[in-house]
Amino acid sequence: MTGTLDRRAAMATLMQGRDDDLLVVPGLGSTTWDLAAAGDNDRNFYLWGAMGGAAMIGLGLALAQPKKRVAVITGDGEMLMGMGALATIGLQRPANLAVIVFDNGVYGETGGQPSHTGAGVDLVAVARCCGFSTCLEVADLADLADLAARLPRLNGLLFARVAIGPEEPPRVLPERDGAVLKRRFRAALGLAP
């Protein structure tokens, strides 16, 4: 089921007015470009690889920084590759973690081949079964505004599927040296580089 929300506008809405306590891990590919387009920030840990790893990076970060809020914002293909992570996160239930999937039902980065979600796999139902306390379908602007309002006061494990349209806007490429991204992220948290 393809959606209608504009991915760049959706990311901008979620990042609007973000504070220093929000740490964001996008998945490789389009969600990394979306996050970069919404404005660079030292508290973004862009992924250029490690497909299937975004949610688990988010878990390790959320457990290490319980006073911060962590948003993993990834695509359906990236989430499908690491779907077991939803079960692993469901067992740990960190209250400061949100896993948000921009779902267009296709692998946009490789030419738009259909993904499993496009054929009916329901990631919201998967997250619910795995023990996420709040599971949201974000289908329109009102749903998106609700999700954006929840992010600054996250108080329980949250999963959201954002039904984005199939458009592939021009790439906005952030820093791609992983060691640089790691060091600036840690420095922003006051950690030794």
């Binding site: 740490l23 490690a50 790893g53 688990m56 390790g60 457990l63 290490a64 077991g84 692993t88 991204l181």
Partner: protein
């Protein structure tokens, strides 16, 4: 035959505590059973049961981003599941401290353990990991100390292989 439980898992646990390890990812494993039990019982360590070992690689990266030290416990077969995710550690110079219980190398009854067990060392070296191996109980604690220093001091992947000889062969007929 000596039937008392081995002490090396407790020495490994002591090394974790000295090193300030706060997150331990694991896939249930007979060789690591005692160490997993100790980690699960410790109030300052978050033991994270994984569905597949590569999750533990990404977990360790996230932990380090947030200022915590993690370790990953797995069996030799798990190494194969980790390979692409290890590129995350190399690309970003993340530390990874992993302890691998070996199968398929000493009095192995199950031949299906041999194909992966036999290539753990070269595969990890290709991934630019430092590979250390403990074959006797006395070697475990000093190697663990060295591995901690290298992993977190040099921000690199360090794998300590725990030989099947050290762990003992799996009992198939009870």
């Amino acid at each position: 035959m000596n039937v008392s439980p081995p002490v090396w898992p407790d020495r490994l646990f002591d090394a974790f505590k000295r090193a300030g390890i706060r997150q331990v990812g694991y896939v249930p494993d007979a060789g690591h059973a005692r160490l997993i039990e100790r980690c699960r019982a410790d109030a300052d360590i978050r033991a994270v049961a994984l569905t597949t070992e590569e999750e533990g690689v990404a977990l360790a990266a996230g932990a380090w981003l947030g200022g915590e030290r993690a370790a990953l416990l797995m069996q030799s077969s798990g190494v194969g599941n980790c390979i692409n995710m290890l590129s995350l550690m190399r690309s970003c110079r993340f530390p990874l401290l992993t302890f691998i219980t070996m199968r398929g190398e000493w009095e192995e009854f199950n031949p299906w353990q041999v194909p992966m067990g036999s290539i753990v060392e070269p595969v990890m070296k290709l991934c630019e990991a430092e590979v250390l191996r403990a074959t006797t109980p006395d070697e475990v604690a000093p190697l663990a100390e060295r591995a901690v220093q290298q992993a977190f001091g040099e921000e690199r992947v360090v794998a300590v292989l725990l030989s099947q000889q050290l762990i003992g062969k799996k009992v198939w007929v009870k």
